[in-house]
Amino acid sequence: MRRRELAVAGVLAVLLLVLALRAPSFFQGQPLRSLLTREAPVLVMACGMTVVILTRQIDISVGSQFSVCSVAAGLLAAHGWPIGAVIPFAVFLGFFLGAVNGALVAGLGLPSIVVTLATMVTLRQGLNLVQQGEFVNLPDRVQWFGLEQTPGQWSVLAIALAVLAGSAFALHSFAAGRHFYAVGSDAEAARLAGIRPRRVTFAAFAGMGALCGLAAVMNIVQSPQVQPLAGAGLELKAIAAVVVGGVAISGGRGSVWGGAIGLLLLACIPSALTHLRIEAYWEKAIQGGIILLACATEIARPRAKKSPPAKAAAA
């Protein structure tokens, strides 16, 4: 593991240690499992975001994609679709939304931050226009995929872990996985090595979308209602988790494990503050402080042997 991942893990360990000493009540089975279950969909999205950022792109429309998939899946479920059909539908819808981003970025060569900014606003406002903020009530059998609560929670967690392990494995051990690193590191060099950067970029966005769809389903099964706003702010959370976890925003460096650790750290903070009985209005300041702290650990690192390269000639 690289330094940054260790550093973030270190900050997380310190936080957990403080909790163990000051508020051992944090470590209880059900609430902890519940916390993890709630973060499981975000973890799935963080995996996708890792891949997107590795390719030297960014996707800030994931929160909106998540919302759209949630509401669409919710409406279908409310109209009596079985959950077995809702899942593939949501994944496919997400894939489609991601593919639109991918086509604009890879096909037309537009900068991803702008494209996804545009799709984010468009999707979100479109959803507001249609749904006007109203909840979708789901039939009972949707919750926990129709399982009991505990097995349901475990299965949500299992899906998230499977996605995490699967993407880690694919990124590390398959040629296709390495192509994301190659394109993110230097797209022109990748082209010359016979990789098709546009395809790889497209795949990153489409995959991100599909994972948003999956995450949306993993989220809606956790309660009997869907809130159209559910995805608000998720893009920031996913991106923060990934970059805090050491994935370089300039592409080509990092791993999904880093993203997972980063997410764990960010996810623990609100609950930790409650357990430490710190008043809520300190929360944002502390969260910001921890992000800064996690990246400040880099400062202590001995200077890189040679100067870092200039960004590969930007688009």
Partner: protein, 356 residues
């Protein structure tokens, strides 16, 4: 997107085929459409809607803070950086101002001055991490985005709202001076300042070089750290100025001031043709970007159809998104076309003619 002014051979093509021209055309179209369909005479025989002077001033006043943030972001983005914390700094400064004036009892103009310093200091925190310790701007400002909003909340425990500012101060945000809303003058001065800095001074050149290649800039003996720091400190100070105007316009200072404005500001900058990868971009472009968004947002709220749908907010969002995509695609079109042209169908694998 075209290369920024190189100070060379003007020629009408250069001027006509600039990205900025596209924005001007867009702006004019927008304005004409809204003027035509958004203006009417009401039952009392008064001209109302988009066409009124009052409405135009409203546009100026409402877009002033976002405009300032966009201006502040332009140099930052030119250096291939980003500052997500500007709106949080705005909120923080609004609260600091309120506290200094209300709780500490400073005269209002002293409090304002101190607030500008506070803003610069907040920018200095970003600068310290980014320019000095060379950490990635996105992460650092993501951290300070939470930090400063959080400090604003902590300072007021989320609850305190400072109000009852003296009339002299509210003049800044609610009245007119020499025919224009007061804050428009402030905005103009800042815009002129940033324009000079970016287009006429050494600093602007250094911003761009850093944006293209920070290493290249270092090897050229340029003041990389100092100039990067300047961009962020300036962003902080301008955010503080925006905080004062925001406070004066609404007559209140509260921890949630300008939540989400950073996104609008970034949108305006990139719509204005500044490359998020740094190096490319112009101040006039940013100004046009702001104008296009502001007119769109206000104009839609004057269209009868949109009003009946009760969807000004949503449709403005939708259209801004679409507009951004269209502008980008148009900006990229010439490049794409020329790149496609030589790619005539490839007659591959033709049989080899008998070699002589």
């Amino acid at each position: 997107m075209k290369r920024p002014t190189t100070g060379a051979a003007p020629g009408w093509r250069r001027i006509v085929f600039r990205y900025e021209t596209l924005l001007v055309v867009l702006l004019v179209i927008e304005w004409l459409v809204f003027y035509r369909f958004g203006t009417s005479t009401n039952r009392r025989g008064i001209v109302v809607g988009f066409g009124t002077m009052e409405r135009q001033f409203d546009i100026l006043r409402h877009s002033c803070e976002i405009g300032l943030l966009a201006l502040a972001l332009t140099p930052v983005i030119l250096t291939a950086g980003i500052d997500l914390s500007v709106a949080s700094v705005l909120g923080f400064c609004a609260v600091v101002f309120g506290r200094l004036w209300h709780d500490a009892g400073l005269p209002v103009w002293c409090a304002a001055g101190a607030t500008l310093l506070a803003g610069a200091a907040a920018g200095g925190v970003n600068a310290l991490f980014i320019a000095r310790f060379r950490l990635p701007p996105l992460i650092v400002t993501l951290g300070t985005y939470s930090l400063f909003r959080g400090l604003a909340e902590a300072l007021t425990r989320g609850a305190v709202t400072y109000t009852d500012f003296p009339v002299g101060f509210l003049f800044l945000g609610q009245e007119r001076w020499l025919g224009l809303p007061t804050q428009a003058w402030v905005f103009l001065v800042v815009a002129l300042f940033i324009w000079t800095l970016v287009h006429r001074r050494m600093t602007g050149r250094v911003f761009r070089v850093i944006g293209f290649s920070p290493e290249g800039a270092r090897y050229a003996g340029l003041a990389v750290g100092r100039t990067t720091a300047l961009a962020y400190v300036m962003a902080g100070a301008i955010a503080a100025l925006a905080a004062l105007i925001y406070t004066a316009r609404l007559g209140q200072a509260k921890a949630d001031a300008a939540v989400g404005y950073e996104l609008f500001a970034i949108t305006a900058v990139v719509l204005g043709g500044t490359s998020i990868f740094g190096g490319r971009g112009t101040v006039p472009g940013t100004l046009l970007g702001i104008a296009v968004i502001a007119v769109l947002k206000n104009g839609l709220a004057a269209l009868p159809a949109v009003i009946r749908l009760n969807a000004a907010e949503e449709s403005a969002g939708l259209l801004t998104g679409m507009l951004l995509l269209v502008a980008l695609a148009l900006g990229a079109a010439p490049k794409l076309l020329s790149a496609r042209r030589p790619r005539t169908p490839l007659p591959e694998n033709l049989p080899i003619p008998k070699s002589p």
